[in-house]
Symmetry: C3
């Protein structure tokens, strides 16, 4: 597919600065820009590359003002990153979608599968499972007993969904993710531990994306719930009975301990840890590697382990760097003071 | 199955407070309590729900004294959580157990499998492997050459056990766990690294539970050992030649570096890191996100990175929050002191 | 295979101290040394065991001077660990290599596979994939559309490689690793998030080893790149568009956020976090659990979260432990100073 700058600008409701007839047929990163491609500048860190890129067209934000002349034709849009997403989605949709049930797959007699599904070889659909229309299940995935999966959901290779879990419409679950493994619950019995059977399930609402090798445990009783539009990165741990509000986004290797409730539209960095049995409000942002051990109200930015408001944390960190000199200063003050006390007593 | 409060109390050796004839046929969480169900109150954080729950029966600890009237019938027991576990186990055991060898699975000719096993489709049992009685191996699991698995063990879908590893009786290994991958050992050779072949194995003793996508590396020489009754949560890393004592419990995303020895009955929070080649005593408790870099004696509670006794750590954290004001105070003291010195010299 | 101390010393270009005719046929750890075996002493922490080991031969570094008499025959070499690696590699190479294509595997018609490959049952090679010579693909692995894999590479069970990724020669990828899952990219659209399709791939150069359940995301545009000779441990997260220089080594559970560039010959401890869009120089060493949020020049040793030079960090930590007493000292100084001011004013 080849498009002119004018065609792309019309589609994106943007404005061409430069040659509207120049054509592109592929994408490139601005730092590796190649002739015949379209690139974008969204993060100001990469601005220097726009003056040197070989890309023929660059999407930029309306408010970008170049410091130097630029060779590329620019398309000014409200949000370059979002416009890039729109273009990439067109290309993505144009790709042929897999369909059909491959030999050497298994569908239990009592399972129901919708029209237009793709089922890869070595995948397994258990008894009483219900799989919606146009669902794509790649090879080597496991759909447990009584699992239901909504329409248009994509299950990448090797995903394992335990019995009784529910996955919504338009979800994407990446390779190796495990949904519905037993929550980590044991009652002490002398020196040993007795397993608490985990009788609940996991409910994943619509439009959720779950990263590779992420694990979401089933509830002890009731459901572990992942709200509509939630995006979880790779290698995340969601423990039993956790509830995550809609449109919350978590970066890789974050862990949420049992029974905690996370609000809507939160954003967590990587390797964040949330203790069990606490509540985090809506729109809470938490910096990478932070640890939250208490309830937190909405609309905060937190940092540190234990986490405190990010501004306070930044101030404390600044002092921590200088602690050795602060400590010697206190030592020398004490000495001076002692001398002074001797002086004034004399 | 439907039971009266009296029947349940008799079974648990508890005492009914309320209507002994009321019947329940399912479980519910106390905050979502539904008529016809039994719930429990173990964590005092949830006490407020007991006054409003719709559950007909609630298990409570003997020492619980209500502040207000409660509608539900109560069953007083020594440990409500443990009693719940007993009831859930009955329901769990009543479930039909899978058995039989599904078509499209593979068992090598030289492998031996015990009576009553379940082997799911697309699972693979390699040469010379020995699988005990009543073992359940879900689909898409891999049992390497010469692996032995004890009786009654459950292997969930997609578990991978490398050659030569040993798994005990009554173990549970969750989906995606990897047992016996190569330890991370390389000898520097100029700028590059030469692989140290990992010739040892992993030995998992009886009654161990291993979480989803957890990884346990084989030893360089000898065995990486997981003691009897150990419980490992999801996404944990156990490096080569680690030894974990019996009944130790670790929460998700914890990592133990090579050759370290962990004692018995330890409890580690999530995202804990233990350095290589160190020893941790028995009954050591370590808070989430802590990092331990030195040998630790038994019967301690540790916190922080680097970890120190939890009480000391809590005191240091309290000061860290106030560091900016402490720092300005030192600055102002210095100033006052300088003025004072001038004063006294005049 | 049985060898004398003399034969082994000749092969390693080492020197025998003791009985050159003593024979061994296996390896053992020095603390579990058994007669008829060869052991090694590389880490001085284990020195005490050499005086008691039952192993018949021990490899030691040239510069080792015993404190007490040793029963075992010693072989002195330049680097005991490296010499052990050489011996283990001989044993490893002598093992029969798997080959042949097992029934119940799948190879698409348009895929090409080289001579001497092993393809385990339930593995899947997609359209247009190209697999080199002597590649070993264990059961239940997934090779996506158009993937290319170089010669002699080993893919352990259950590895998932998404479409379009490239794996070099002589690589080892451990069980459950996921290569080429979508990068975590979303553009905000009101309260929800719009997926940025991830059109790039992952390129893994020669001689790379990747740990169990590690995840490497495909680039948005272009490639996520893992340089020649890189060694990644288990449960590591590499985000989209990351570039890792050759011979860099990372311990388990480390995470690198999107678009960051890591230099050559770096060494990262476990649970390290690197922020997105930053650059780390060459030969940078980073301690376990550190968090790096800024560009870092070459040849540094870093520690802490946020990471600073390790020496400074160690000094700050030493003060942190004593913060409560430092804080009370400041409090008492203030008090004394106030008294003194009153005194001098009187």
């Amino acid at each position: 597919m080849t498009f002119t700058a004018r065609q792309i600008a019309d589609f994106l409701q943007g404005e061409v600065v430069g040659n509207p007839e120049i054509k592109v047929s592929d994408f490139s990163k601005i730092e590796d820009g190649k002739p015949g491609t379209l690139s974008f500048l969204a993060n100001p860190k990469y601005e220097s590359h726009i003056y040197e890129t070989q890309a023929d067209i660059v999407l930029i934000n309306n408010d970008f003002t170049p410091d130097k002349p630029i060779n590329a034709t620019l398309i000014k849009v409200e949000n370059a990153y979002s416009s890039l997403a729109q273009l990439l989605q067109i290309v993505e949709k144009a790709k042929a979608k897999k369909s059909g049930i491959e030999p050497m797959s298994f569908i239990a007699e009592s399972a129901k599968v919708g029209e237009g599904i793709y089922l890869g070889a070595f995948s397994y659909i258990s008894d009483s499972a219900v799989v919606g229309e146009n669902v794509q299940i790649y090879p080597q995935s496991y759909i447990g007993e009584g699992v239901t999966i909504g329409n248009n959901t994509i299950i990448y290779p090797g995903v394992k969904i335990y019995a009784g879990c529910v996955v919504g419409n338009n979800c994407i679950i990446h390779a190796g993710a495990v949904i519905g493994s037993d929550g980590f619950g044991f009652a002490p019995e002398g020196e040993t531990f007795k397993k608490i059977p985990q009788m609940g399930n996991v409910v994943i609402e619509d439009d959720v994306e779950i990263g590779a090798n992420t694990t979401i445990d089933r509830a002890t009783l009731g459901s572990t719930t992942i709200g509509k539009g939630v995006k979880l990165d790779n290698l995340i741990q969601i423990a039993h009975n956790v509830e995550i509000g809609s449109n919350t986004v978590m970066a890789a290797q974050t862990g949420i301990a049992g029974s905690s409730k996370i609000g809507r539209n939160c954003m967590f960095g990587g390797q964040v840890a949330i203790s069990g049995h606490i509540s985090i409000g809506d729109r809470v942002q938490i910096g990478g590697q932070s640890g939250v051990t208490n309830n937190q109200k909405s609309d905060q930015v937190l940092l540190g382990s234990p986490a405190i408001p990010a501004k306070d944390c930044a101030r404390s960190y600044a002092v921590i760097k200088n602690l050795p000199s602060l400590s010697s200063q206190v030592f020398s003050i004490q000495k001076e003071l002692n001398n002074l006390k001797v002086d004034t007593k004399n």
